[in-house]
Amino acid sequence: MDLTLIQRTFPFFLEAAWITVQISVLALLLGLLVAFVLVAARLSTVFLFRCLARIYVSVFRGTPCLVQLFIIYFGGPQIGLELEPFAAGVIGLGLNIAAYMAESIRGAISNVDPGQEEAARSIGFGRRQTLWLVTLPQAAKLMIRPLGVNAVALIKGSALVSTISVVELSYTAQRFISSTYKPFEIFMVSALLYIVMVYSVRFVVDYLDNRFAAR
């Protein structure tokens, strides 16, 4: 095992890992925002909104993320959308994960005891008030874990932006593997960094889950 190789390349990997973190965080935030919009649309009384939300989720979950990234980054200029790889990556990943998060949120809402909604309605609260005052606060606890799963998927999915020339962790790994032909050592380093990221998220999710969902 070539330890000097690991030593030499580690700074590059650390820097690349930072890019991965940035992309993941930004995509996560974008994804959450879009996800909430989608859920609101899905619960709306307007049929069109409900339809559009369903179509969005179906399309983004029914096609590969890689293809979505290619459409945005490579195909974008054809429709007037010239994006830097980093931006295209964030947008692509964000729009993709939004569909999955929307389902996580929607699932959590539908898992709230229906008696809660009945009680609120029987007092005289309208649909929106019931959702805001009674259903959502309870759904929040239920969505921590599923959203955590989505976040982990996002971190691993961020590797895809290496294909649109974003110099993140997987890109760097591939570069070094193909130049040094020592995949084992390179994998060790990059895998370790990914695992650290993934398990950090899991740790946070576990903490939040225990703190809020165990009352």
Binding site: P64, Q68, G157, A159, L169, A173, I195
Partner: protein, 219 residues
């Protein structure tokens, strides 16, 4: 939208069809292998001595915590280093199968564990051996609860076959990339590819749904 022209795709229909064919090949072979390996891994983790289960657990931990794309890179370049010179196709199938095997194993293991322990007691109390209990009592029940999650894994697998284009396997995305390099119309081609995947996904979902129904029926 300036100058989008879907007809640019038509001359490349055969190329894309060939690509789709290879996507299907990748999907079917990886599905079968990952299911078989998944069963094997699950059995090891459930019933084999702790020492033997350890490497399986380690690989599971490793493959679940890192991106599939990275795993494909490593296997592709790694096999060459070790001296095994198989074409990219082999690396792709191995990579996909291994990755999804650990996810399938996890599902299967959970399914077996979730069978009511009272069932085991009932079976043993009438004299069935451990093996017979597994075969006639546990497995059929575990099957019912694992069909849906395994189906979900297959749906993910179908989409993830797109990743092997990166290591040079001439499936759908790779074929589209070839077409794009000649026509400089990425939007039309990748959109077409997206539609094809969507349709394929739909077919798969319907198939799985029917399968689930069939399993439900046999009660």
């Amino acid at each position: 939208m300036q100058g989008l022209d879907l007809s640019i795709v038509t001359p490349y229909s055969e190329l894309l069809a060939t690509g789709l064919w290879w996507t299907v090949v990748m999907f079917v072979s990886s599905s079968i292998l990952s299911l078989l390996a998944g069963i094997a891994f699950a059995l090891i983790v459930l019933y084999a001595p702790k020492l033997m289960a350890l490497p399986v657990r380690f690989i599971t931990w490793l493959l679940m915590g890192t991106p599939l794309l990275l795993q494909l890179y490593v296997i592709y370049y790694g096999l060459v280093q070790v001296g095994i010179d198989i074409p990219a196709l082999g690396a792709g199938i191995i990579g996909l199968s291994l990755h999804f095997a650990v996810y399938n194993a996890d599902v299967i293991r959970a399914g077996v564990v979730s069978v009511d322990p009272g069932q085991i007691e009932g079976a043993r109390s009438i004299g069935l051996s451990r093996g017979q209990t597994q075969r006639y009592v546990i497995v059929p029940q575990a099957l019912r609860s694992t069909i849906a999650p395994l189906g979900n894994n297959l749906i993910v697998l179908l989409k993830d076959t797109s990743l092997v284009s990166i290591i040079g396997i001439a499936e759908l995305v790779y074929s589209a990339q070839l077409a794009v390099s000649e026509t400089y119309s990425p939007f039309e081609f990748y959109l077409t590819v997206a539609v094809i995947y969507y349709a394929a996904n739909l077919v798969l979902e319907v198939g799985l749904h029917l399968l689930e129904k069939k399993v439900e029926m046999s009660r």
